[in-house]
């Protein structure tokens, strides 16, 4: 490999910026989340709406950090060369997975105190439903899986596994900075394969347990994969934004080049846009085509009232527009263009999580409707309109920003004393000299 023989002369540490970032972002994040709670109380006591918004923001951050974990494991698994210089920054996001369970505690408390009925309908329990109703039969059937105890145990298992994986990959990578031991890389490569398996199952089942069971009757085999594809989009955009921010503050300006930006852009384009669209389309088309009532309701909810516009926004904003914008290599190499696209995708990923989590229309409404036309025409004036139509609240925004602040603050905290590139990774020089073909 034609490679430079020394590291470029540049600032590779957060230094004073580190404490500034994590103190301010952390403080701001907690303030925003607490403020949102206060705001929701002020606006009337609809706590279910607040907690749904809370879940949206939580899934947003969770998906990005899980995307980072996937990316990090993938680089070890494939012995990738190009990505070494950006891996540390993704590890900063991965480090959040060590503490992300804290944000889920309120939800577990809600489930156990019996306050999550509006959120996770299954928590009402089969006994509370009308005797002999199909809903009751369904819930009784699913009780073995959907009961607070098993659900919490599963959640605990996911968090423990993510904790261990994050600790292993971030810890070893940082340790290598001081030891310079190439064997660390070999060890991470060996662990990467089983880690990927663990990752696949935990992230899929987390998506099933926490998002899919919001409608306990609905099911899709593909759901875990959809969440994975979405998380690649969120992560890809976040990584580019973080790298660009650090470079703007005068850090890692030499080691991370336009070539790496293009490569990160390709990752985002391939996984976050095309793969996402492929999975999203397949899931929608198969359910739309077979037209089985218990499956179509999930999409139908998302086509009623103003939800329809949100769905269109996702189709165009998450696929067509970014596809056209990022297709060529030139925008991927043109920083302003790439960063603007990533800002847009950062936002649209939130919309995607919102679209997955927020819509909730009681099944009775579908039972009452006699036809799809009746449903869609009557919807805006029906009794459910005010309650269940898309209504964006101010605290949706503040919660999202709050969680995003915590995510970035957490990453800054994890990287406060570390070099921003793995300085002793054996493939670092290959990465520094990387050029696209």
């Amino acid at each position: 490999m034609a490679a430079a023989s020394a590291l470029p002369n540049e600032n590779r540490y957060l230094g004073e910026l580190g404490p500034k970032l994590y103190m301010r972002l952390g403080g701001l994040g907690i303030l925003l989340i607490a403020g949102s709670y206060g705001l929701s109380k002020l606006m009337g006591d609809d706590s279910a709406r607040f907690w749904r918004a809370y879940l949206v923001a939580y899934f947003f951050v969770l998906s990005i950090c899980l995307g980072a974990l996937f990316f990090t494991i993938l680089q070890h698994l494939t012995r990738a060369g190009w990505s070494v210089v950006v891996r540390r920054i993704s590890e900063g996001l991965v480090a959040n997975l060590k503490w992300i369970w804290i944000g889920f505690i309120p939800i577990i408390v809600l489930v156990w105190t019996g306050n999550a009925h509006e959120l996770y309908h299954w928590t009402v329990g089969a006994d509370a439903l009308p005797e002999g109703s199909p809903e009751q039969a369904m819930l009784e059937y699913k009780d073995a899986y959907l009961n607070p105890m098993f659900w919490t145990l599963r959640a605990a298992a996911y968090f423990v596994i993510w904790f261990v994986l994050a600790r292993f990959f971030v810890g070893n990578s940082i340790a290598q900075d001081t030891t310079g031991d190439a064997k660390t890389t070999t060890r991470m490569q060996t662990i990467a394969a089983p880690a990927m398996l663990l990752y696949a199952f935990t992230q899929s089942y987390a998506a099933i347990d926490w998002i899919m069971t919001l409608e306990y009757a609905w099911f899709s085999t593909m759901f875990g994969v959809y969440f994975f594809a979405a998380s690649c989009c969120g992560f890809g955009a976040t990584l580019i934004l973080m790298v660009s921010f650090l470079q703007k503050t005068g850090r890692v300006t030499q080691s991370i080049t336009t070539e790496h930006h293009q490569e990160m852009g390709k990752f985002l384009f391939a996984f976050g846009i095309i793969f996402w669209a492929y999975i999203g389309y397949s899931q929608y088309m198969l359910i739309w085509y077979a037209n089985i009532p218990e499956e179509t309701t999930w999409f139908m909810i998302r086509q009623l009232g103003s939800w329809k516009w949100l769905s269109y926004l996702i189709i165009f904003g998450h696929f067509f527009v970014p596809f056209i914008v990022l297709l060529s290599k030139h925008p991927k190499r043109f920083k302003i263009m790439l960063v603007s696209a990533c800002l847009w995708l950062f936002a649209i990923h939130y919309v995607d999580m919102y679209w997955l989590t927020m819509p909730s229309i009681p099944m009775e409404m579908f039972a009452e409707a006699t036809s799809y036309e009746a449903l869609s025409i009557d919807f805006p004036v029906s009794q459910y309109a005010a309650e269940y139509d898309l209504s964006f609240q101010f605290f949706d925004l503040t919660l999202w920003l709050g969680f995003a602040c915590l995510m970035f603050g957490g990453a800054a905290f994890a990287l406060r004393n570390q070099a921003l590139i793995p300085e002793h990774d054996p493939r670092l020089y290959e990465s520094l000299a990387y050029e696209n073909i």
Partner: protein, 466 residues
């Protein structure tokens, strides 16, 4: 020339392992690879294999004639299993055809340089597998003289094909896949055909290779566009690979039939296709590198990498099986639950467990380095994977069709001898084409292999300071 045997399977993160062993000049690479085509006689094994496979090809031809003469009743397709062997074999062969474009296109985009040793092989395999696959729906339509109804051609009924049917998407998907794979294969081969032309010893060979080499003279201005075109083709072929088997999976998944209507089908079929395709590359590459002395190019590292991909895709398939089972139970739909329990414990349990053990359990052996580097183990494993993937299609198609919503029409599907012999005959077709390919066309991408050798780096002889 180095005589010390180098073990390029060792993983040293400080440097990249060599991909070509024992050759330190370009001419010896050219000589070794061209020798496969230029030697006067191929190894004896080639004759034996060719005799067997062409016999089966002949039998296939006769049976197709018999089928046309008699009708599709010669097959075991009978109500309720109207889709029997022909569709199982179609999906099986299309699946095999996926590794070719995967190796060529996806690994090219991911800059996996080790692909150069095996991509030509795999692409050829793709084309021949797609020919085998395309044959089945063609002869399955019953009235073969109206096969043109598959295409949007005005006919005497003034009607058009039904574009809302995934079966028609198949026509477009498989047709496009065949065309693009053929183009990809041919474009990649042009510089190597020029090599054979320039080395030709007889006028006939020079003209024959010369025509297909299109007068290629290695002009860098040509290479510039050529590389761009190759990259574009790879970028086009990558989503195409995904789409083709996804469309094949739509054939099943759009239906409401329990066991077919599963949203994970598209990515799961794609993973399965790549899985079986790699296994088939393995099955073909192991004897080929042995018989034609290509061990310096298809090294142990290449084989090990392929084993790793088999492990990864096998695990993806395992993930899909697990998800399907979980969702079938979780859905609470009695038909779905029944379909899956019936697969595992019903009348086709034997097929189901062959599938699971071959596809999920067998590849797990590749967690061990010893197994990944043992020719015998990987050869057996690759055969078993192919068996398993055939049974996967059998299980999906036959169990769901024979026992669906209406118990009174349940039945047991039994293939006829024509089904079985035709399936064997399709292997004859596949192998005959493949053996001809090995005999007459460059089996390894000569120009591409040279380009990944360390000597090809123009900065190497300046002390690497650029």
């Amino acid at each position: 020339m180095t005589t010390l045997p180098i073990d390029n399977t060792l993983d040293d993160p400080t440097k990249r392992s060599p991909l070509v062993l024992g050759h330190d000049d370009f001419a010896s690479v050219t000589n070794t690879i061209c020798n496969v085509n230029e030697r006067r006689r191929p190894p004896r094994a080639w004759y034996i294999c060719f005799a067997i496979s062409s016999t089966f090809l002949g039998i296939l031809g006769i049976l197709i004639g018999y089928l046309f003469w008699t009708g599709v009743g010669v097959w075991g397709n009978q109500n309720p299993a109207m889709w029997g062997f022909p569709i199982v074999n179609f999906v099986f062969w299309v699946g095999i055809g996926h590794a070719g474009t995967l190796i060529s296109a996806i690994l090219f985009l991911f800059r996996q340089k080790w692909r150069t040793a095996i991509n030509r092989f795999a692409e050829a395999m793709t084309i021949f597998a797609v020919i085998c696959a395309g044959m089945y729906p063609g002869i399955h339509v019953g009235r073969v003289w109206v096969t043109y109804w598959l295409f949007p051609i005005p006919n005497q009924m003034e009607m058009w094909p039904q574009f809302r049917s995934p079966l028609l998407w198949d026509v477009f998907a498989v047709g496009t896949y065949f065309t693009v794979s053929l183009l990809f294969w041919y474009v990649g081969m042009v510089p190597d055909l020029a090599t054979l032309r320039d080395r030709a010893t007889t006028k006939f060979k020079a003209i024959a290779y010369g025509i297909f080499a299109l007068g290629w003279r290695g002009s860098m201005r040509h290479w510039h566009r050529y590389e761009r075109a190759y990259l574009l083709l790879a970028a086009l072929a990558t989503p195409l690979v995904l789409s083709v088997h996804s469309v094949v999976s739509f054939d099943f998944a759009v239906a409401q039939l329990p066991g077919w209507h599963t949203t994970i089908f598209p990515p799961y079929f794609v993973a399965g296709a790549i899985f079986s395709g790699f296994a088939m590359v393995m099955t073909l590459a192991i004897p080929a590198r042995q018989w034609w002395g290509l061990k310096d190019f298809i090294t142990m590292r290449h084989l090990e990498n392929m084993n790793k991909i088999i492990l990864v895709t096998g695990s993806m398939v395992g993930y899909a099986y697990a998800m399907e089972f979980f969702t079938a139970w979780y859905s609470g739909s009695m038909y779905e639950s029944f379909a899956f329990v019936n697969r595992a414990f019903g009348q086709y349990a034997w097929a189901y467990w062959i599938m699971v053990s071959c596809n999920v359990i067998v590849p797990q052996i590749f967690w061990f380095r010893k197994a990944r580097q043992s020719i015998l183990i990987m050869f057996i494993a690759s055969l078993l994977v192919n068996v398993g993937m055939w049974f996967e299609r059998f299980v999906i198609i036959v169990t769901s069709l024979t026992q669906d919503f209406l118990p009174s029409s349940w039945d047991y599907f039994t293939p006829t001898w024509v089904d079985l012999v035709m399936f064997a005959g399709s292997f004859g077709l596949f192998l005959t084409l493949f053996l001809l390919f090995i005999r007459f066309l460059p089996v390894i991408a000569i120009a591409e292999v040279k380009a990944v050798m360390p000597q090809a780096n123009p900065h190497a002889d300046h002390g690497g300071d650029h």
